[in-house]
């Protein structure tokens, strides 16, 4: 009888990473769905009403932000009670869940003396945090 695909034990750090990624993705998708339902069903006040969007979404992002007085960077946190902006919480969880999963690997690698992988994990976290910080400018 051939072995089952999960018959070979995978490294502990890989299984820990999988568990944390699984939870992060589930929570992110749940928040994304709930906030979107509240937005389109009108249960939460919107920053930009859905009916206005067809006149706005053909513009480049810079012009869209001007026309809707929407924030860039982390400014959306101040408006998180608005239905459409709340959707960004779920998106931020999805885009950020790998950071916690990577940090959770550091003690495991340290215990095994795998310094190269400690550096790789911390460097990857730094790259994602740098991208998330909004310090890197760009745009039209």
């Amino acid at each position: 009888m051939p072995p089952a695909p999960d018959a070979v034990a995978q490294p502990a750090e890989q299984l820990r990473y999988a568990r944390l990624l699984d939870w992060g993705t589930r929570i992110g998708l749940l928040v994304l769905l709930a906030s979107f339902a509240a937005y389109v069903l009108g249960l939460a006040e919107a920053h930009v009403a859905p009916a206005r969007l067809p006149q706005l979404w053909q513009h480049p992002v810079g012009r869209y932000l001007e026309l809707t007085d929407s924030p860039s960077g982390w400014g959306w946190l101040a408006l998180v009670h608005r239905g459409d902006i709340a959707g960004l919480v779920g998106i931020a969880i999805l885009a950020g869940c790998s950071v916690l999963a990577l940090l959770a690997l550091v003690p495991l690698y340290l215990r095994r003396g795998e310094r190269a992988f400690v550096v790789l994990c911390i460097a990857e976290v730094a790259v994602v945090l740098l991208a998330a910080s909004g310090l890197l400018a760009g745009g039209h």
Partner: protein
């Protein structure tokens, strides 16, 4: 008691006879799902056709037509993306960018999220089964995610016509790659290089299809790292993810077995697209009204696609996808050149 056990064992036995009701049911399940998908599309597409008619006659269709259309289109793309062996983002950006009214900035933001959500959803299963290797993914993802930030910034700073042309050229290049690239299921790696040895880039997994236990190791690690720098720039700039490029580099250059290459590519994507997605979020280029129906539609479609993979000849789907990509790539290229506005 014994009869009940026999019934249960028969229910779970592999399908070898079409006469068994449970076998027929299992065999027809993917088609049933596909029929449900088609029925849903049949309900929604007439509404979209009406909306398009309204738009052509000058009156705006109601706002909800577009997210609904986006959901249906993403659902259909999700169905074909899995059997065709490409990431959903590869189809999403050229098709939605060409046929929906959203600005390309928002389409690329949503495309990255589609690719990210798909990679995150598949990641845990790939890691547990060993079809994705975290050790192999981490060094490649570090370079690719750093360069994807540069790509995302460049993409948002460049004139939209230039991005459309680059996107069109890239999609047509992917079509060529799909035509000519050879795949090696179990490449021969005689000895790992020094970097691969130092990082212990090796492992083992069980191939579920053949039941074979596969020991793997890689070589040419430094060359692979350099290529992943370039892949990151393209992924961030275009918003189409980079599974199409990751897999050939992992498989043909580094010598990773094909299934491991596909699984590890998903892990690399989950990290690369996280970085690039943050740039789009910070620039305000992620509109939930565009992103959420796309993510949900693509994920639901991919579940059906994974079932269809068992019964549908992959060759047929591959040809269909090549045809769609050819059309969408040409459309993006001509739109960028102002020939087909």
């Amino acid at each position: 008691m014994r009869a009940r056990a026999l019934r249960q064992s028969a229910r779970h036995a592999p399908c070898q006879s079409a006469r068994h009701a449970h076998c027929q049911s299992a065999r027809h399940a993917p088609w049933r799902s596909a029929r449900h998908a088609l029925a849903l599309m049949a309900l929604v597409l007439p509404a979209l056709a009406l909306a398009a008619g309204d738009a052509a006659s000058g009156s705006e269709p109601p706002w909800w037509v577009w997210p609904l259309g986006l959901f249906v289109a993403s659902f259909a793309m999700g169905i074909v993306a899995v059997p065709a062996g490409i990431g959903g983002g590869t189809l999403f950006v050229p098709i939605v960018g060409s046929f929906f009214p959203f600005h390309l900035d928002f389409v690329r933001g949503a495309g990255l999220l589609v690719a990210l959500a798909s990679a995150l959803s598949a990641g845990p299963m790939l890691l547990r089964s060993g079809l994705g290797s975290l050790r192999l993914a981490l060094p490649l993802a570090l370079l690719a995610s750093a360069s994807s930030i540069v790509g995302a910034i460049l993409g948002l700073a460049m004139p939209v016509a230039l991005v459309q042309m680059l996107l069109g050229g890239l999609v047509l290049g992917i079509v060529v790659l799909m035509f000519v690239s050879k795949k090696s299921e179990y490449p021969q790696v005689d000895a790992p290089d020094r970097l691969a040895q130092a990082l212990a880039l090796h492992g083992v997994f069980v191939d579920g299809a053949s039941g074979r236990t596969v020991q793997w190791q890689v070589h040419r690690t430094a060359a692979g790292l350099v290529l992943f720098l370039g892949i990151g720039v393209l992924a961030g700039m275009s918003g189409i993810g980079a599974g199409w490029a990751n897999v050939p580099v992992l498989n043909l250059l580094l010598g990773a077995p094909l299934k491991l290459a596909a699984g590890t590519s998903g892990l690399v994507l989950s990290l690369v697209d996280s970085s690039a997605a943050w740039v789009y979020i910070n620039k305000g280029a992620v509109l939930p009204m565009v992103a959420v129906p796309s993510v949900i539609g693509m994920m639901l479609g991919a579940r059906i696609g994974a079932r269809l993979l068992q019964v549908l000849p992959a060759r047929v789907v591959r040809r269909l996808v090549i045809a769609v990509l050819l059309f969408a790539g040409a459309r993006a290229l001509l739109k960028g050149m102002g020939v087909w506005p």
